[in-house]
């Protein structure tokens, strides 16, 4: 068991692709870090460099007290779970798990004990004599995990280990991985493009974009206090609503104006220097769906937090309702947003482009199931303006982050 540290790690492939750019990470001993980002952002490359499967172009990687830059993968005492498992097809589950121990000349009895213990943890004792082709996807996944566990390595490296499973199995294996990781207390780097997985699995999550680390923090903090537009847009589902607005001072208040709407910025944000610097300029306003509620339920809300908007779609989710409504201002469609949606939902981009053309955006509100708003209604919605997010349109940098940290504490 050991901590892992990446210091200024970069990787440029021969074709010139800068897949990882000056990456700094620290994973404390026994913790699990989720490395998350849209596909192509360099997660796998970063993980492979930790594993030793890819040379570093520059930088240093430390596992425990050793700098491992020049060590072969086998000498780094790490175990890896591959996206498509990479089980040896000609070996049984037992042989797959035992191979690394045989190579290391672990005594037979000890080998036997460790394989069976791993099999027990993963509940695959029945499968030990089977070959990969005779197993289901979930079973192969377990064997791949088992192969990592028997090693009792310093660290687990997992590259989207659940992405080839169906949705239900994925949720189940997710909690299983978490359980095992906590039971063994092995330092783990967990790569995923799925922000939900990162939220639920990581002690910490690191968000990457185009090879560059955007932010590292606990998943809750990433969600609550994103450092920039990209992180804000990437974390959360449904994603943050965003629109370009003007930040104005009226009387004693700061307001954001977009289309025919205006919202009064909450006290804490208002006080932040970085926010005040933008008065009279345009900003990007972000509102999380759960911070919008139905005025018929939330009757006491002040005027500067209300939106009168037409409801386009009503999705019953049981414990909540998703209301889709339009706002008469163009949506944000910059490089960050394109990057977020590029791989998973190409039609989202198309929809955004359409909205850009018609200069209206579709927002989503996550409201109380009591809400009576129907499709076609002009609904009165209330925004929790203390939870507004503001971003610099030019750089995407979040404004007033210092204030939000304070809110977080006082809450």
């Amino acid at each position: 068991m050991a901590e892992i540290e990446l210091i200024g790690v970069s990787k440029a492939f021969k074709d010139g692709t800068l897949a990882v750019n000056d990456l700094n990470l620290f994973i404390p001993d026994g913790k699990i870090l989720a490395l998350v980002g849209p596909s192509g952002c360099g997660k796998t490359t970063a993980l492979r460099m930790i594993a030793g499967l890819e040379d570093l172009t520059s930088g240093t990687i430390r596992i425990g007290s050793d700098v491992v830059n020049d060590l072969d993968p086998g000498a780094r005492d790490i175990a890896m779970v591959f996206q498509n498992y990479a089980l040896y097809p000609h070996m049984t589950a037992y042989q797959n798990m035992a191979l690394s121990l045989r190579i290391r000349k672990v005594p037979k009895a000890e080998m036997h004990r460790r394989v069976h213990k791993a099999a027990e943890i993963l509940r695959l004792e029945e499968l030990l004599k089977k070959r990969p082709r005779e197993m289901s996807g979930g079973q192969r996944q377990r064997v791949a995990m088992g192969r990592a566990i028997v090693r009792e390595p310093k660290a687990f490296l997992m590259d989207e280990p659940l992405s080839n499973l169906d949705a239900k199995l994925r949720v189940q294996m997710r909690s299983e991985i978490l359980r095992i990781q906590q039971e063994l207390g092995t330092t783990t780097v967990y790569v995923t493009h799925d922000q939900t997985e990162a939220m639920t699995l990581g002690d910490q999550a690191a968000v990457m974009r185009l090879g560059v680390l955007q932010q590292v923090d606990t998943p809750q903090e990433l969600y609550r206090n994103p450092a920039n537009l990209f992180v804000a847009g990437f974390m959360g589902s449904p994603g943050m609503n965003m629109v370009e607005a003007r930040l104005q001072r009226t009387d004693d208040d700061l307001v954001v104006e977009f289309g025919s709407h205006r919202l009064v910025v909450g006290e804490a944000l208002k006080a932040a220097d970085s926010v005040r610097a933008f008065v009279g300029r345009s900003v990007i306003v972000g509102i999380r769906p759960e911070h919008i509620s139905d005025a018929s339920v939330e009757t006491s809300a002040p005027q500067g937090s209300r939106l009168r908007v037409p409801i386009e779609l009503r999705e019953e989710m049981g414990s909540e309702i998703l209301l889709h409504f339009t706002v008469d201002a163009p949506p944000v469609l910059n490089e960050d947003i394109k990057e977020i949606h590029a791989d998973k939902e190409p039609d989202v981009l198309e929809a955004l482009e359409e909205q850009l053309e018609s200069r209206r955006s579709v927002f989503v509100a996550r409201v109380d199931p009591e809400s009576r708003s129907r499709v076609g209604d002009m609904a009165e919605l209330v925004v929790d303006t203390t939870r507004l997010y503001l971003f610099d349109p030019a750089t995407g940098r979040a404004l007033g982050t210092e204030a939000r940290a304070a809110v977080h504490v006082t809450n």
Binding site: A12, G52, D55, L56, T57, S58, N69, D70, L71, D72
Partner: protein
Amino acid sequence: MTKPRRRVLGRSRKREERSAYLFIAPWIAGFLLFWLAPMAISVVLSLMDWDLLSTPKWIGLQNYAELFFNDRTFWVSVGVTLKYIVLSVPLYLVTGLLLSLLLNLKIRGITVFRTILFIPSILSGVAVAVLWVAMLNPDTGAVNDVLRQIGISSPPRWLQDPSWAVPSIVLVGLWGIGGGAIIYLSGLQNIGAQLYEAARIDGAGAFQRFRFVTLPMLTPTLLFVLLTSLIDAFQVFDTAYVLGGSQGGVGDSLRFYLINLYNAGFVGGRFGYASAMAWILVLAAAAVILIIFRTSGRWVYYEYDPESER
């Protein structure tokens, strides 16, 4: 901050490289010993007069000069080989293709036919030749027996008739045409069904589908078969040796290039001379291959290959 772009190989890459050279070492050794060294020796040898026992004598280009201007049997062997190439290569190309079309039909029992027709191509040239030398015996052989029974009173005397000798070998080769057909067959089976469906929808009949889908898609296979059958045709030995003996058959009618070379070197002991002949063979073969490759761009259609080289 700015690091030099080109780094020397990392230590693990160096290890990888070292083990790579170990892995390919057998071939490197084999290449040096069994290809490069003989090639170098061969060049030098072709400029010498040497019978293995006496001391070798440097004679410059005399071997080549003798071959070109002073050796009737050399030109005979060239003629026999060319005659064989002209007769056999186009014939095998077309019949192999036709047979593969037949074997590609989706009818019951087709795999049995494929198996049967493939058998001759795995038999040795010697075994086949031994069989056919008996079959083609003009008096007692089965072939002429059949011919006489269907009313041909004086059938060809095959190997004993110089003008029939090379055609005889061509016909014997036809017996093994199933081998070539199998290669076409795999080419045919790699043509996507949806291409045919698209052609059908465009209203193409059976012949048009062959002309506009099958044939173009099969051109890489045709190129491959053309090249290999040409290279093989340059090197006929076993069959000719059995059917015509080491001296090249009746009236030199089966004095193929390699038979002649074998005679000059291993029977006549003129190793320098034989080396010169070998070089002429290599250069001729290389020229033909090169010409075919150069012109193949015009008629070979390659499908997009997603697997690109490193």
